[in-house]
């Protein structure tokens, strides 16, 4: 169910990026798509009531087997979180480039309307 909502968010972003005529709105649509994917990645590793996947000093005294069992049963999956951090940094980079490109386009054309920015054909 939650995954379906996440996918819906992705489709909203895609719709916005494809249909809207304003450069900034297109960029917002792209950002929504990226957020939806990041949310999806986080939810993959999420576990209701789970603990942070960190081994504290007290846990080590409990012995390796109990620690492993505890991890398997309780801790959330840390890998998707690491992936999301990387993905966020990447989307920050591309978002900054997109926005700066919008500013340069506005300088040249004096408009954000994509239907008026049409020097290239076909």
């Amino acid at each position: 169910m939650l995954y379906a909502l996440c996918f819906l968010l992705f489709m909203i972003g895609l719709y916005c990026a494809v249909v809207k005529k304003n450069l900034v709105k297109i960029v917002i649509g792209l950002a929504i798509m990226e957020y939806a994917v990041n949310l999806f990645l986080i939810m993959l590793g999420y576990r209701a009531g789970g603990t942070a996947p960190i081994v504290g000093r007290g846990d080590l005294q409990a012995g390796a087997e109990r620690l492993t069992a505890h991890f398997l049963n309780r801790a959330v999956d840390p890998l998707p979180q690491a992936l999301v951090l990387t993905a966020i940094v990447i989307s920050l980079g591309s978002l900054a480039l997109l926005i700066s490109m919008c500013i340069r386009l506005y300088d040249k054309y004096g408009t954000f309307d994509i239907t008026e920015i049409r020097r290239l054909r076909g």
Partner: protein, 500 residues
């Protein structure tokens, strides 16, 4: 050899971040350093031929750590990427004098090379995505490097479609992780072999086909390419058309379909359909173009169709359990055409850049009679045109011949006929280029045109020589078995090969 594998990413990445420090005064030093880096990478790429192995980053075992994988296919791609980038960098020495901020250009160029090398050697799906984004973001900036109206518009269009493609790919990566619990290609492949492809994985695969199809500009997804490639500076057009769409699009797609998901009949048909559509529609859109670089860009779409057709045909024969010999021939044709296209299309773009720099225009109708004015550019352009149109003895002829033989042997006479017809239309459109650019009457305004000498000439002659010499890759059996066949075997053996 395997120990120096990270150098393919580290050398260009480190150089890229070093170069902006040179500023405006150290331009010559920065250019020299960038050239040394690309030439060193090209030499290193030649040295990887015949080698294979797995490099575990930071000595973490492949179960938990990041791995870099070198195999036949990876070394073939590394060779294509680094040789073309060395030639394009050589060409830039003189060509980029027209632009300001040359060190920034060199830096972005090297970032793009680092990203492409990373995509090729990465052994897990998420790192493939990360390197793909490095290469893509650098290429968005490079397409808009001129900062004029058209360039910004093309760059924005490219960036929007590229970002959509990246989101699709990342969603696919997330789905693969959710369904198999790993990102390493070998482990993922093993899990998929055990469980079969469920609905989630099938959805991930279709996301990958759309995402990488957008990056490779296959026909329903090609809208950005004819704008983006001509708008970039000529050496960058050469890099984009020559290697970027292949490393980021086709290589990644082939790697995932053959080595991770395993071939299946429906996917093979999708690939064949994409290939045929790209071939036919690309070439017919190209014939009507009057802008030199735009015409070349449409031909890139068409020629990518050949590569995807070869790969799809190979996948279909494998999936149907047909004779592996013909599957191997189809894949050989596809991959050989991929490296051939890398060489001759980058040469064509460099030649178009040379013509544009000398005449100041890209419109075919405004040119003419440059044959005496620019003999070297003319010679290079003729060699590349003959290659792309499939005139023997140049390299393009052999790869198209192999594709046609494979299609006939597999019983697809229609596909073979389409391949030949598209090749003829390609020949026609390059005769048009020859006729309008180099033959005919020299317009009054172009009387003073002079040949570009120095580094631009050297880069073009290098690639023109390669166009001829690469025929040897297929004609000399020992070269074929050391360079091309290992790459084909990686795909044929499918999910078994990256078992480490």
């Amino acid at each position: 050899m395997i120990r120096v594998l990270p150098a393919f990413v580290i050398v260009p990445l480190a150089t890229a971040f070093l170069l902006p420090a040179f500023g405006a005064r150290g331009k010559a030093a920065a250019t020299l350093l960038a050239n040394l880096a690309t030439i060193a990478l090209a030499v290193l790429a030649v040295a990887t031929i015949g080698q294979s192995g797995v490099y575990e980053v930071g000595n973490w075992s492949s179960r938990v750590g990041i791995v870099l994988v070198l195999d036949g296919l990876a070394s073939l791609m590394l060779l294509a990427v680094n040789v073309v980038s060395a030639a394009a960098m050589l060409f830039s020495i003189r060509y980029m004098e027209q632009y300001t901020a040359k060190p920034k250009y060199l830096s972005l160029f090297l970032l793009m090379v680092a990203g492409m090398n990373g995509v090729v050697i990465s052994g897990d799906i998420f790192n493939l995505f990360v390197f793909l984004e490095i290469a893509s973001i650098a290429s968005y900036a490079l397409v808009g490097f001129g900062c004029e109206h058209e360039e910004l518009e093309a760059s924005f269009k490219y960036m929007v479609l590229g970002t959509i493609a990246s989101s699709f790919i990342l969603l696919g990566v997330a789905l693969v992780y959710g369904n198999t619990g790993s990102l390493n290609m070998a482990y993922t492949a093993r899990t998929i072999q055990g469980t079969g492809i469920n609905a989630g994985l099938a959805f991930a695969l279709s996301l990958f086909i759309v995402g990488f199809g957008l990056k490779a500009a296959l026909v329903p997804f090609h809208a950005w390419l004819p704008d983006a490639h001509p708008s970039a500076p000529a050496p960058i057009s050469a890099m984009l058309s020559g290697v970027l769409i292949k490393a980021l699009g086709i290589y990644a797609l082939a790697r995932l379909i053959f080595n991770v998901f395993g071939v299946s009949i429906p996917v093979s048909w999708v690939l064949i359909a994409l290939g045929v559509l790209s071939m036919v529609i690309g070439v017919f859109l190209a014939v009507g173009q009057w802008d030199f670089k735009r015409l070349l860009a449409y031909h890139s779409i068409s020629q990518m169709g050949y590569v995807v057709l070869g790969i799809g045909l190979g996948a279909l024969i494998l999936a149907q359990g047909g004779d592996p010999l013909w599957a191997s021939l189809a894949l050989l044709g596809g991959l050989f055409h991929l490296v051939n296209h890398a060489v001759f299309k980058s040469l064509l773009f460099l030649a178009s850049g040379s013509v544009e720099m000398a005449t100041g225009t890209r419109q075919l109708k405004e040119m003419g009679g440059l044959v005496d004015r620019m003999p070297y550019t003319r010679a290079a352009c003729t060699v590349a045109s003959a290659s792309i149109a499939g005139v023997p003895p140049f390299n393009g002829f052999w790869s198209k011949l192999i594709l046609v033989i494979a299609a006939v042997q597999a019983g697809f006479f229609g596909l073979a006929a389409v391949t030949v017809v598209v090749s003829l239309v390609t020949l026609l459109s390059f005769l048009k280029v020859q006729r309008y650019v180099f033959l005919g009457e020299l317009p009054e305004s172009l009387r003073g045109t002079r040949e570009n000498r120095g580094s631009m000439q050297a880069a073009m002659l290098l690639l023109a020589a390669l166009c001829l010499l690469m025929s040897l890759l297929i004609l000399v059996p020992s070269l074929r078995t050391t360079v091309l066949q290992p790459a084909v075997d990686v795909l044929i053996e499918g999910v078994r090969i990256i078992d480490n």
